[in-house]
Point group: C2
Chain length 334, copies 2
């Protein structure tokens, strides 16, 4: 690569090989070789992120790396899958530097260790365009136990993990600050609350600690990446059912509550914004308590927000007993 | 996506879902769910290509799609792996059109069928940069049978499939024509020969038909993507051995022979250029004939080009009994 100080082979040997796990063959081959436990199936997912579209080019390289991996881990978590490893395609922009790349690899390696999902293969290319990262996450589940998006049934309880809306508020704050025009509602938040929502945008928290409980207890699930409103619609459509959602029960952080109190129009950002990476799940009524216990044990909140009902009407969102219309429906990266 | 006529969901449903194979869950979930045959291991590889770096932005969309997939299939073939499916990350540039995308999907679908490697998952994003395609190819082998890059032994016979150098010549011709300066040697080639080398650049031929014979007969292998000279060095280094190569035995197409006769300096392009996507393989002497028979039965040439020897010296390349020095060594996309 003309603009970089390292050949691709050197870069792999010095920067990425130290992160490589079993199955990577030391990144010396063109492939990874992986075993699944007997009786398990492979779960595979891929997500790409592009500077200026999915993250800011001047985000800390560690954070870019972590987010690139975590959006894939979040998909595995929603399916109840245990991570096996990941493959990385890194398209480096002109002018990349070794310290930048070392920090990127540091973030990736930290998460690979924390989530037990080692780097097993990859490809590094140059691009005249913006930095792009595409990761394929591989996981496994005992045969027949994967939690699908198409399995919701009328009568199921609808629940979400964690809190909703923080990341979309963090993005709003970030964009405002970048334009030297912090949104008015930001003044209502403490410095700590502002830091909280900015961090939630930068560092999604894949709920992998819930994977085994999801397999055991959940009927249907997906991760919330494009906003609760839109992603719920997708799940219901895929399952051929509808739902009633009580927006007043959707879990909000103190920061999000304060922002919403300062500006009621933020309801759209909070409920229909994106980048939550929480789990949206349907559960048979008798399984809610056991799943909630498992979540608490993992330090993760689980909140009931409504119920699945028969029919193919769009879901009804209620607040203080009145229906709320989310005309725009969903925010999409695309 | 602002510039496109379709939402991501519409695009997946109308353009990509028709290509999706078993395990894709109809592209309705965020993941693919795949089974390996009992006693098999997973082989996974990923390769990214970027317009203006790995292909020309005005290449036919079918050809871009096919090459993106085939460079991954070539890695699976070299390892003796049978394809299971692939995941696609497509970063679409501003101004893409539906006919372009339909043609791209058509090329992908044609190859997915021809090579029995269905689309099982993916992600579509927009980019302000050039079109980029990252594909993860998944395959499987009976446990313990994958052909590694690190296994060459002194005494092995060194062989390659097909012919070497055509694609690099095709790229040279293509670049010359683009600059309105066709290289002088091109005048020595017939129109058919020019078409042959251009096609070899555009359409690599993954040698998947040899996968089972590779598992049964080959000791060590990789595909030749960055040039025979450089890739051989990588394989020998990974295996801790050296080799003697007789350049006069390296198989050349009639077009490449004619080009080389017209311009002897093309030896560098032919032997050290890239994009061959042929298999470079080491075989115990007794296995050469059975592997050659299998190759012939599959309509693929297999040519002995030298032997693996002990030591860690760089390989020696001989022509007409004299050693040839490839100072530059390898051409790299990176």
């Amino acid at each position: 690569m003309g603009s970089g100080p390292l050949s691709e082979d050197d870069l792999i040997a010095t920067i990425f090989a130290p992160l490589a796990g079993p199955g990577s063959l030391g990144l010396e081959d063109d492939v990874a070789l992986l075993s699944l436990p007997d009786g398990h199936e492979l779960v595979a997912t891929t997500d790409g992120v592009v500077a200026g579209v999915h993250f800011f080019a001047d985000d800390p390289p560690e954070a870019i790396a972590r987010k690139s991996l975590r959006v894939n881990l979040s998909d595995l978590a929603a399916k109840g899958a245990e991570p096996l490893g990941f493959l990385l395609t890194l398209a480096l922009q002109e002018g990349w530097t070794r310290p930048w790349l070392e920090a990127f690899a540091g973030g990736l390696g930290g998460d690979a260790a924390a989530y037990r999902c080692p780097l097993v293969g990859g490809d590094t290319v140059r691009t005249p365009g913006p930095l792009s990262v595409s990761i394929t996450g591989l996981g496994h589940v005992p045969r027949g136990t994967m939690v699908k998006r198409t399995a919701a049934r009328a009568g199921d309880v609808l629940a979400v993990t964690g809190t909703i809306g923080d990341a979309a508020l963090g993005l709003g704050l970030r964009l405002g600050v970048a334009a030297a025009e912090a949104p008015a509602w930001a003044a209502a938040l403490s410095a700590g609350e502002q830091a909280h929502i900015l961090d939630r945008y930068l560092h999604p928290q894949p709920r992998l600690a819930l994977a085994s409980a999801m397999r055991a207890r959940a009927r249907c699930a997906m991760d919330v990446s494009d906003g609760l409103v839109g992603d719920l619609r997708k799940m219901l459509r895929a399952s051929g059912v509808s739902a009633h959602v009580d927006l007043d029960r959707v879990p909000l952080s103190p920061a999000a509550r304060r922002a919403l109190a300062a500006d009621a129009s933020l309801a759209m950002t909070i409920f229909a914004g994106g980048d939550d990476y929480e789990l949206l799940v349907t559960v048979a009524p008798g399984e809610v308590e056991p799943l909630g216990r498992a979540a608490r044990a993992a330090g993760i909140g689980l909140s009931v927000i409504g119920e699945v009902v028969a029919g193919t009407a769009p879901p009804a969102f209620l607040s203080a007993g009145r229906e709320v219309d989310f005309a725009r429906g969903s925010y999409s990266h695309f």
